[in-house]
Chain length 760, copies 2
């Protein structure tokens, strides 16, 4: 048993209680939202189509990934026979005999993995279902008043936010209470489960949403010159479904996973300090910080509302008010906590830096993607000389933005160094982890803001298709615009936190490897924390080069997947346009076909990409050993961060440049400048909503796989060549399967193309 004071034991139970209160609050909000009216039959009809599409997608996705999850669960259980329980685990369960401990830890690892995966799935699934329930109600409420529509939309989003918060905190705390000093054994499984699921949701959802969006735009806006969300476009429902599975389910799972991983690495690095200092406060602190975050999110989010019955209002101001309320509560409470409990201010400073980091990334994102600043204005201006200059201008902006973002992250790490100046590296790593904790303190508010986006977007779409009247449409259009801003902000936070989380995991990797090395009686001079990961040795350099390449490969594959799926959508919609009476609005298009094309396309890529993320670190580790694997992780973090922010911001900037022109600049809608800007927007779509965000969970999956596999790699230093050959063959099989799916996708494409040609 760890030495806890009574206060600390009470505190832990309070944390657990707050997690449950957060979940209860979500339930409470759900009732509120569900009580509202769903509107006219026509609206319900559209909504039913969206709901069916979204549910069909999620259940098909679940089926695809279930075998993968089962295999990994079994592997994690049996891993205990290769990697025996840690010394801490034996101590923790000293009342059991070693074989029993083995069973307990094996079971714990597997259970924690399932728990992590399940929670991630729940956040995504429930969140998305809630969003779907809310959108039609927002549309209905917008016929009455602005405040009602906004409230439903934001509160429905808050439900997802509180699920993220509550489940993340609940899971971490319960595992810690059960396993105590043996917690790392299980926590890693928990983190891995959540991250892997997030990867699936992100990649699948991202491909779905952008295939539908890009496809619908290309064939609708560009080719047929009909407006967005026009009911004659067969891909329009798929587009709305995509907003839910991508921006809502995908993003929520993604942030949940960052939330989870920061607490996991915070606890692991905290435990290292506990062992160093004998004080347990290092691990209680992050849990308390998180609990304060949940509590303050409840209060802050409930503040967000308008004046009753008003017909127009400022949604952004209201959302910001809620955010600042939460932030203020946090700030004061953290100070109290640091002063009275920690008896020192360094932990407070680290958490504070996290909050500043979130704000800094926010401001950067706003500057580079906001319509009020020079970069986007510049892109809009360059649309006058055609689409090529729009693209170049956006690329240049994206490149520059990623430089500043990474400098902010470097400054964050540097401040951790300064805060813990003169202390061992373990403190600095802990400081970085606390920065991650601080950054995600207001996850409840952040996810609420994010989910607000797709809900308003969908409401607007339903309004367009169901033909609501002008005042209601105006309210929804305004909410939609605010939603675009909040989505962009959350995206920045998601990427920033992903890298900070990855850096903490990188720290956990070294701590973990060293612990295993010590257990295996490797001389201290040869242990990883002593030798470090020397980029100056050729092997580590090789690892770094391979790691740096992985995000590029991943992005290449995801962009490609979107392009191919979008082409299929284009062809399908073109085919349907030829149906007699459709263009006159007399015949309804077959929406389901487009939904099922997107679903199929997204599924096809999932397993291959996941295997790539899981197998590559294993192979690098086994072939080039643990130190090179460290180089691999560093390379992947560096190149992943640079690429992810570039793609996110370039995409956001193009999007908003197009909006500027649609608002009347340089000839407005329909002008040559507008066409050029639409090209930029279309290019940016998969970058900002598929490839960029997919890198967040990808970076963490490879980090977690490395931490989990490190003991095996060290132990089997001279691993039988057979195993390596097997793994390399497996990777080759994956690559071939990806290529094959690309080929068959293309073949399919050409077949359809041929059919269409013959039809002519």
């Amino acid at each position: 048993m760890l030495e806890t004071t009574t206060f600390e034991m009470i505190a832990l139970w309070v944390v657990l209680g707050i997690a449950l209160i957060g979940l209860g609050y979500a339930l409470f909000l759900r009732r509120q939202v569900m009580a509202h009216d769903k509107g006219s039959t026509k609206m319900i009809e559209v909504w039913e189509a969206i709901k069916q599409g979204a549910n069909a997608y999620l259940s098909k996705q679940l089926k695809t990934i279930l075998p993968f999850i089962i295999v990994l669960t079994v592997a994690l259980f049996f891993s205990v026979y290769i990697v025996p329980p840690s010394a801490e685990a034996l101590e923790r369960f000293s009342n059991l005999n070693p074989d029993q401990v083995k069973m307990v830890i094996g079971f714990g690892r597997a259970a924690a993995f399932i728990l992590g995966a399940l929670f991630s799935l729940m956040v995504g699934q429930f969140g998305m279902r809630m969003a779907v329930q809310a959108n039609v109600r927002v549309a209905a409420a917008s016929r009455e008043s602005f405040d009602k529509a906004m409230k439903i939309s934001y509160r429905a989003g808050t439900i997802t936010g509180m699920l993220t918060d509550g489940l993340g905190l609940f899971g971490g705390t319960i595992i810690f209470l059960v396993f105590q000093k043996a917690a790392p054994d299980a926590l890693l499984g928990f983190g891995f489960g959540g991250t892997l699921l997030a990867l699936f949701m992100r990649v699948g959802g991202g491909i779905f949403t952008k295939a539908a969006d890009v496809g619908a735009d290309l064939v609708g806006k560009v080719e047929a010159s009909i407006p967005e969300d026009d009911p004659r476009n067969a891909a329009v429902i798929a587009d709305l479904v995509g907003d839910n599975v991508g921006d809502c389910a995908g993003m929520a799972a993604d942030i949940f996973e960052s939330y989870e991983v920061t607490i996991v690495s915070g606890l692991i690095l905290g435990l290292a300090l506990v062992q160093l200092t004998g004080q347990i406060k290092w691990i209680i602190f992050p849990l308390l910080v998180r609990a304060i975050g949940v509590f303050s999110s409840i209060i802050g989010t409930y503040q967000v509302r308008g004046k009753k019955g008003q017909k127009e209002g400022n949604a952004m101001a209201s959302i910001n008010k809620g955010f600042y309320t939460s932030a203020a509560i946090c700030f004061v409470s953290f100070a109290v906590l640091a002063h009275f409990y920690m008896n020192e201010w360094r932990a407070f400073l680290s958490v504070g830096v996290g909050i500043i980091l979130a704000i800094a990334i926010d401001e950067l994102t706003k500057y580079f993607t906001g319509t009020h600043y020079n970069p986007v204005k510049e892109i809009a201006r360059s649309s006058q000389t055609g689409s090529a200059t729009v693209i170049l201008s956006g690329l240049s902006t994206g490149f520059e933005s990623t430089v500043w973002a990474i400098l902010v992250i470097a400054a964050t790490i540097f401040s951790a160094v300064l805060i813990y100046w003169g202390q061992p590296v373990a403190y600095v790593l802990y400081g970085v982890a606390m920065t991650g904790i601080g950054m995600l303190t207001l996850t409840g508010n952040n996810v609420a803001m994010d989910s607000f986006g797709p809900i308003s977007d969908n409401a607007n779409g339903i309004g367009e298709i169901a033909g609501l009247d002008k005042p209601a449409r105006k309210i929804m259009a305004e909410l939609d615009a605010v939603g675009n801003t909040t989505k962009a902000i959350t995206k920045g936070v998601a990427i920033g936190s992903a890298v900070i989380a990855a850096v903490s995991l990188f720290g956990s990797y070294m701590t973990d490897v060293t612990k295993v090395q010590a257990q295996l009686k490797v001389p201290e001079a040869l242990q990883l924390l002593t030798t470090g990961i020397r980029i100056s040795t050729p092997m580590v350099l090789i690892g770094m080069l391979i790691g740096g390449a992985l995000p590029w490969l991943f992005s290449s594959l995801t962009i490609n997947a979107v392009s191919r799926a979008a082409s299929l959508i284009v062809i399908e919609v073109r085919r349907q346009f030829k149906t007699p009476g459709l263009m006159e609005g007399k015949v309804k298009p077959d929406y389901r076909q487009a939904v099922s094309i997107c679903t199929g396309a997204a599924q096809k890529e999932l397993i291959g990409l996941a295997l790539l993320a899981v197998l590559t670190p294993l192979i690098v580790g086994l072939v080039f050993q643990v130190e090179a694997l460290g180089g691999f992780l560093a390379g992947a973090i560096l190149s992943g961060q640079l690429l992810a922010v570039f793609m996110a911001n370039a995409g956001g900037a193009w999007d908003n440049a197009k909006k500027l022109i649609e608002d009347g600049l340089y000839g407005g809608k329909g002008s040559a400048a507008h066409k050029a800007a639409v090209c930029g927007d279309t290019v940016g779509d998969p970058l900002k909503d598929t490839s960029g965000p997919a890198l967040n969970p990808m970076i963490k999956v490879i980090n977690l796989v490395s931490v989990l596999a490190a003991p095996i790699i060290i132990q089997y230093k001279k691993i039988s060549p057979g195993v390596i050959v097997f793994l390399v063959l497996a990777l080759i099989a994956v690559i071939i399967s990806i290529w094959y799916s690309k080929r068959t996708g293309l073949k399919e494409f050409h077949q359809v193309e041929e059919t269409v040609k013959q039809d002519k």
Copy 2:
């Protein structure tokens, strides 16, 4: 004096002799080329315009950079008062007193720097002037026969090739002969001078050529729908000048610099082995390999010719035949050298891996950018759904290609590890350096192939403008097409060799730092070669993040510079189009104006970008210390390589996809698909010819600055904050100046825009 055998002394003089023979061969070819006829008055008139433009550009550029060079020369001379001569230098000049040695070494550093800069400048300037002399003669000869035109074009290119070879080998050998074991002191200066000049030529030439090209295309092909090289387009001469200053002067200086840097790092790492083993063969070997390369290039390049008087022929086959002849001579000679002189095969294997690496990168480049393979076909196909899908498809291709390229480089480093398995790191680093030497063995042939490109391109342009008859035009068009392929191949080699050279420099950095540390009596356990560069320490991680960001910043700025300059060209040509009679061909446009716009735009950015490359490593080193600077270099190499290859290949692929369509696919010229493909090509232009190639010298400049500054950084571990503040302020000044130039560029742009509007 190093212990050389008589054989070795003779060998060194023979090496020097071969270098001079190479230069003599260049002179001999020059006479041959100059003896040819320049054609009709009209052709000479066009040619005069190109010549004047190119010369004006080069002399203006020289004026811009001269102060910079002078300041650095003085700094290098006085650096000897901060960093005293090495122990080896004192030994080498043991007949002088220490103060005299200081003077000699200071003078040596400064002189070597000037020598490197001068040689780089000469290669660029002479090469370009030669290209300009040749293009009109090729155009004239094409009226007679295919073989004559090809021979002039290729031989003029070979002159640049032999200058690169000859001057590189001559400089390295002479410095080695004079300074012997003290050579590193001077060699670094030599490398730095060459690299810095290459950076200037690359960046300036790149901006010039693409501003002209993109601007001319946008306003000519896209807006006014007139063909390329149409004499009514006021930017057409600037475009032709651009081919010379970018593809010819820029590329030649770039490859010269890689050639130089590989020999510099090969000699430095070789000297480390000499000290380790007492055998001098480690440094004689690379010089002999290079000499064999020069010799074989002379024989191989002279083989390239067609059958006398033939009207058509296969230029590519002939060029390849010459290449393989040279390669065969090298291969056999290396084997003989390894067996009889080195008495071991490892050095041969390393050099051989270099040749294989060159071929592998070649094949990769061909696959991803060639018209016969799937990637380009895919891009062409996606042009049917508009420019957005063309861009996405190209991005995905570029992303993927960079993954494979970096894996090939990782494999190369791994093979150096395998070849020197079980030996100290110094051997492995030497192996990597020898790979670089091997890769650039056939530089003579490579540069000849590359310069062949702009010469044929220009000849074709002169033919179009001067209105030559059809058979002649056909010959030139064919040479032009072959030139595009050879240019692309050289680009791949240039980038690959840049990274290998950078990795060797990275090795030199560690060797150098450790030597200084030993001199300063730093305990061995704390010396860099012992501790390594530990990416696991926060400071090194910070360094790596900053280093990784630099190539992105650099690329952002260069893309931006091209966009702005291209906009100015567009506006200028639009203005001239309005001149009465111009569109009817009655009035000649004012070509000079466009040339001077490009010249001005290119100059404006030069100093800022060069300062960025020079100051950043200094500041990172002084603030975060030598280990972090190592991380910085590793980050810059990783991210620079990934970005450079991505940009080069995406650009190449777009270019060729457009060509596929122009050859008749998907509706051919003028179709919607063609418009989409032109968009891709225009986006790719600055990526592949400005930003991508600029990263090669940039990576090496920061590496060389780091190696040169390392002793200062170590010595002034506790450097006065004043110096750091000064440097940081200097960097801020640079950034502000870049921003300012961006602003004023924009302001200028808007002013011109306004004028044009008022004109309407």
